[in-house]
């Protein structure tokens, strides 16, 4: 069964999600990866406002390829999330509701997700041309000099994702392979 979720991700929708749930996401999300995260944290250090609200919002770790004429965005699959780990707990403490990426997260990120009730979704790495079809619009809202790493506001419709780590700290990267191993041994 695939569960359809709406963004921003308010707590009543976020908290019941469990690792392994197959979902689609519809609504507004923001993109940021390595260089943009560094700048967001620098803005916080300087006491300056961020270019987008954090409360219940979802950040997608993506640096899309350029949009060809007639399409809102180029290919847009997830990048590997651990590179954002050092910045993430602070953003979660300020209300960030979820992240979309791929790959493992640090214990510090998972602990912050539990504390603040956030969800880590996986998008399929390498399904980038397909995922682009779920993007209805794309607008650069900050750091345009970063090119593919600029912060973008995306409107997505039925963007396919999987709950990788839920707000209880259950982790599909541990549960999934373990379950397959048990099945194979039976």
């Amino acid at each position: 069964m695939i569960r359809d979720l709406t963004l921003p991700l308010h707590k009543p929708a976020a908290l019941p999600l469990r690792a392994g749930d197959l979902v689609t996401l519809s609504g507004v999300l923001y993109t940021a990866r390595d260089a943009a995260h560094k700048r967001l944290i620098n803005l916080l250090r300087e006491g300056k406002p961020l270019p987008f609200p954090l409360k219940d919002q979802v950040i997608y770790y993506v640096g899309p390829s350029p949009a060809p004429a007639g399409l809102p965005i180029g290919s847009a699959g997830p990048t590997t999330s651990y590179r954002m780990d050092s910045y993430t707990p602070e953003l979660l403490s300020l209300g960030l509701g979820g992240m979309i990426g791929k790959g493992r997260r640090s214990p510090e990120v998972i602990e912050a997700m539990r504390r603040y009730g956030a969800v880590y979704f996986g998008a399929t790495g390498g399904a980038a041309a397909l995922l682009a079809r779920s993007v209805l619009s794309c607008e650069v809202i900050a750091f345009p000099d970063l090119g593919p790493e600029a912060v973008r506001r995306l409107t997505v419709e039925r963007f396919p994702a999987i709950v990788l780590i839920d707000s209880m700290g259950n982790n599909l990267y541990e549960i999934g392979p373990a379950a397959c191993t048990r099945r194979a041994e039976r």
Partner: protein, 281 residues
């Protein structure tokens, strides 16, 4: 002596990168469809279905298969009786890469300085160029677009000779296990054994371009490839690392003579969209 205009090289490089970023090779597509057929985990099937649907999405839109269109790597195997005319061979390769990445609307992912400035060069150059000279008068160009999700998970192990076959298998399985979901499994694994600190990874990277289903001609290395693949897939890391039957599509090993005191082992991990193609001029 054969004269070859460098513009021919430029055009070939451009064509190769336009092709590989948009179309997966038939052997990989077939292996991915087999992985989907045999998969039993619903979540892994969800992922593998998206990945096989992605081939059609890229073909229909002209978008690259992955937004990370990689660092452009070219292995040039040049016949020593070729004389390149009309300019610099290196600049011709760079121009071919530049042309493909701009024309193809591919992402430019190269920064000029790795540590301090990290300013994007804007055209995905410079490329990584490996040149080797062989007898004859043809030029073979192997182009690879290497994404860094998987490149970051590649490893070099300087093993002692006593580590033996088990040591090599351990190194390969360790690299894939510790990489887990990060390099976009199902992965293709290239293993370079022997040589020295820099030849082992070169062999490993080149090995990732060997077609799926083609083993090393030496039966002992072919058996090693089989064992490594079997052990990797026993990990059940699966597609996207969320648990499944196919963690690696293939393992290719290459070897070279080495020193009496060592056995370097390099493990190059490549994502399921292993983008490479070869042409001969």
């Amino acid at each position: 002596m054969r004269e070859l205009p460098v513009t021919d090289v430029q055009a070939a490089v451009r064509g190769l990168f336009l092709q590989i970023n948009r179309r997966v090779s038939p052997d990989i597509e077939a292996a991915m469809r087999r992985a989907l057929e045999r998969e039993t985990s619903p979540a892994a099937r969800y992922v593998l279905t998206q990945l096989t649907d992605n081939y059609a999405a890229a073909a229909e839109t002209g978008l690259p298969l992955c937004q990370d269109t990689g660092m452009a790597v070219c292995f040039l195997t040049v016949g020593q009786d070729v004389h390149f005319t009309g300019g610099s061979l290196t600049q011709a390769v760079e121009q071919g890469v530049r042309d493909a990445y701009i024309e193809g609307c591919f992402r430019k992912s190269i920064v000029s300085d790795p540590l301090f400035d990290r300013v994007n060069t804007g055209d995905n150059t410079p490329a990584v160029i490996h040149l080797s000279l062989v007898p004859g008068e043809s030029v073979r160009i192997l182009a690879m677009a290497k994404g860094f999700g998987s490149e970051n998970m590649s490893r070099v192990f300087m093993l002692p000779p006593a580590a033996g076959e088990e040591g090599v298998l351990d190194a390969v399985v360790t690299a894939v296990r510790e990489a887990g979901p990060n390099p976009c499994p199902p992965v293709i694994v290239g293993v370079g054994i022997g040589g020295d600190f820099e030849t082992a990874p070169l062999m490993a990277k080149r090995a990732t371009a060997r077609p799926i289903g083609v083993h090393h001609p030496d039966a002992r290395y072919a058996a090693l490839e089989e064992k490594a693949l079997e052990r990797i897939n026993r990990s059940m890391i699966g597609a996207a690392g969320i648990g499944g039957l196919t963690t690696a599509l293939w393992v290719s090993a290459e070897y070279a003579p080495t020193h009496i005191a060592g056995m370097p082992v390099a493990v190059c991990i490549c994502c399921h969209a292993s983008r490479h193609a070869e042409t001969v001029l």
